[in-house]
Amino acid sequence: MTARVGGSPNRVGGIGRVTGAQEYVADIHLADELHAKLVTIPCARARITGIDAAEALRLPGVHSVVSAADLPSPMPRFGPQFRDRPVLAVDETKYHGDPVAVVVADTRDAAEAAAGLVRVAYEELPAVTTLAAALDPAAPLVQDPSIRPDDAFAHTNVVREHRVGWGDVNAVPADLVVDHVYTFPMVTHFAIEPHAYIAAPDGDGIAVWSTIQHPNWLQKVLAGVTGLPLAKVRVYAPDPGGGFGGKQHAKYEPLVALLALRTGRPVRLVLTLEETFQAVRRAASEVRVRTGFRSDGTICFQDITADYLIGAYVDIADRVVSKGSYLAAGPYRMPAARIVARPVLSHTVPSTAFRGFGNPQVNWAAESNLDEGARLLGIDRLDIRLRNLARKGESFIPWDTPADGDWQQTVRRTAELIGWDTPTAPGHGRGIAIGIKSGPTTGLSYSTVRLLADGSVVVYAGTSDMGQGARTVLAQIAGDELGAPLEWVTVVMGDTAVVPYDQQTSASRSTVLMGNAVLAACREIQGKLRAMAARVHGVDEAAIRVDRGVVHMPDREIAIRDVLGPGFGRLGGELVGNGEMRKEAEPDHPLGGSAAFFEFNCTATEAEVDEDTGDVTLVRYVTVSDVGKAINPLQVRMQDEGAAIQGLGHTLMEHYIFDDAGRIRNLGAIDYRIPTSMDLPLEMISEIVENADGPGPYGAKGMSEGALLCVSAAVAAAVRDATGIVIRDLPLTPERVWRALRERDRARDREAVAAEAVRHEAEAVKHEEPVS
């Protein structure tokens, strides 16, 4: 199959995925392995007063029951931003599912049975599980202030206050100010592959298999917890079965690693889906948006305060909040903006990165607010967006990367595809919204590429292919540059002992950062090929050009592999290239660096609402993303449509439900619904805009989060357009929509009664008027 960039060859690794041969972490078994099972208690916050493992230890096959007392003291803590997360809970649990002990046994059965026999004595303590409760001055502190001693807010449940802005929102006069609060629910990633971990002693080091997205980051965390040098910590990261951000950072790897070192045997921990719900989620939020408009629809200012309910440990959530809220004012020309965002700790599952990284929450609020302004001003909702949208090259955040695409083109195409200018069918309504997200602000990817003697290629790339198709994209780049068909390219990933450093697989960066690193490695090889061809053919090197798989000699073209044979001679050999892409930090930038690119998406939908049940049907759904250049258009489409449907989850159905003790009441697949094949828009159209204006190979930009960003605002706007109801809280469950419809009906009835009364009064007045 041709590897040409811009084509859509079958997925590299696809055959394993359709035959069942693809090996995920839970499919791997090591000889003499032990099985671990977490011990938890059924409440959010409790003081642990005793752990009695006697009965559990009597069970045949049980090796040990480990709690905080058995682990190093002080308890090792870790976390990508703060070292606040203990390997196991010390003295106090912080959320429902926070493990207090772990059973290790010869079989999974024994481990599970024994976990149920560990007697944990505890005293339940008051828990805060909502923003209001956590922000109450009398609220219990979720974290001990000593964990963040230098932080101004250490004595509150607020981690930090992130402020960004320009202009003076109080100084810009507005004809209309629209001021509302919008809430976003707590939702979970629900990768179909539950998280899984295996650790094994490996000579004088340790080997760890994990469903991790960032193997190199995990390696660093494990080195910190175990005291081993990086070179003695080998992380294997088989392709994750879905990540979506939930598998970026270490969760139970440090625990499993310490258990393996302690027992001297391999230890495996495969979470259940319920345990995964208790390991990762997206931050809920409450966002207040005040937008000032001139009467012609020009935006004067936006004043946004966003509180995100994060969990008991910060994980990467503080960054989610700072980076997510940073673009809250959207891709618009904005004379003044003030954005204040706070991550608020609570006794809930630690929230982490999740596709969109804090942007969907603010986007839902700001785009909905913009819609409300347009309606009050009597301006078309498409027009108000086009009027204010930043033009290409324009700085819409004064100090940051200017608009890096023809965004008008994307929005106009979306409107055209939904038929914005055509009449809507009776009972139907339309909504349109724009999503924007900053790509990586810093980053580093290395790649090594080997061109073997027969012209086949091995690419080493530390990116994780969790379904987004990075392996295929990188193989296409290398195959195209070095003239190898796709079947002749192998991409090696997921082994820190073999593959060079890559900072992370996140922020839709890999096509750009790792793609450029692979491209640079290929270009280095092309340079060596020129020298080789010059030597073999006795031609001046300067007269030779190597381009997209072909060696251009002064008088003819030669295939790369035909240069290699005579070039290597009897001893054989290979050409090795190294490439790197680095996006340096900018210390004075509020986010530590400007955006490498923006993900820009426009979404429009047409909805029909069942007036009797509140059920929302999306009759037509359009998503258009500016991707710069699609290396693989089919994969781009898969990512965009998948992101859109995933976004329909938090828009229409998904949310955690808590009881008063902070227990999650809808753990697992029965009570927590995600979109199925029966929940799709009746018609789904996805298109891309390609102007080759991105910083990646061939003008590519990152993509795959963009199409999720503004799903909620587009859908809610369509529901409003169809029914007249305004809902500012997600998800738009049938019950919530039904209640709003009934409230609308009651309001109409009240208005009718009032109008009737006015009419009667007028009649009465008329009758009383003296006949002159």
Binding site: V18, G241, I670
Partner: protein
């Protein structure tokens, strides 16, 4: 810790004799005893469909079937779809139409789709969506999965 029961079954055409714990599911037996790890474990409550296999021509969630219940049965798993190393038409369609992203749900999707095609050789789009409603895909590749099933049905696989 529990009594073992002997069972005889055919898995992907091959007779197998096993000693299984009475409480172990067919999913456990396939993955842990037979090493057939293509069948995936996710929700364990019959909601996600990742563990879908066929027993005597009927698809089931293998997490809801005890291994002993499969005694004497013919079980087909995803590993049994390709004959002699050649992908089935459905598998080829999944590959060609980009139905597999992370791939974790795909074994279950394939088993459910094959069952649908066995019963309804030329399904409509709604029939495909209803037929696969019990198989969750969080990558949400539903559009591509649907296209692949239709292509396999209509013989338009590349």
């Amino acid at each position: 810790m529990s009594d073992l029961v002997s069972i005889d079954l055919t898995v992907n055409g091959r007779p197998r004799s096993l000693e299984v714990a009475a409480h172990h599911t067919l999913l456990d037996a396939l993955r842990d005893d037979l090493g057939l790890t293509g069948t995936k474990e996710c929700c364990l409550v019959g909601e996600c469909g990742a563990c879908t296999v066929s027993i005597d021509g009927r698809i089931v969630d293998s997490c809801l079937v005890l291994a002993v219940e499969a005694d004497g049965c013919a079980v087909t798993t995803v590993e049994g779809l390709a004959a002699e190393g050649r992908l089935s038409r459905l598998q080829q369609a999944f590959l060609d139409y980009g139905a597999a992203q992370c791939g974790f749900c795909i074994p279950g999707q394939l088993m459910a789709a094959q069952d649908l095609l066995d019963r309804t050789p030329h399904p409509s789009v709604p029939e495909v969506q209803e037929g696969l409603a019990g198989n969750l895909c969080r990558c949400a590749g539903y559009e591509q999965i649907s296209e692949a099933v239709l292509a396999a049905a209509e013989g338009t696989v590349r």
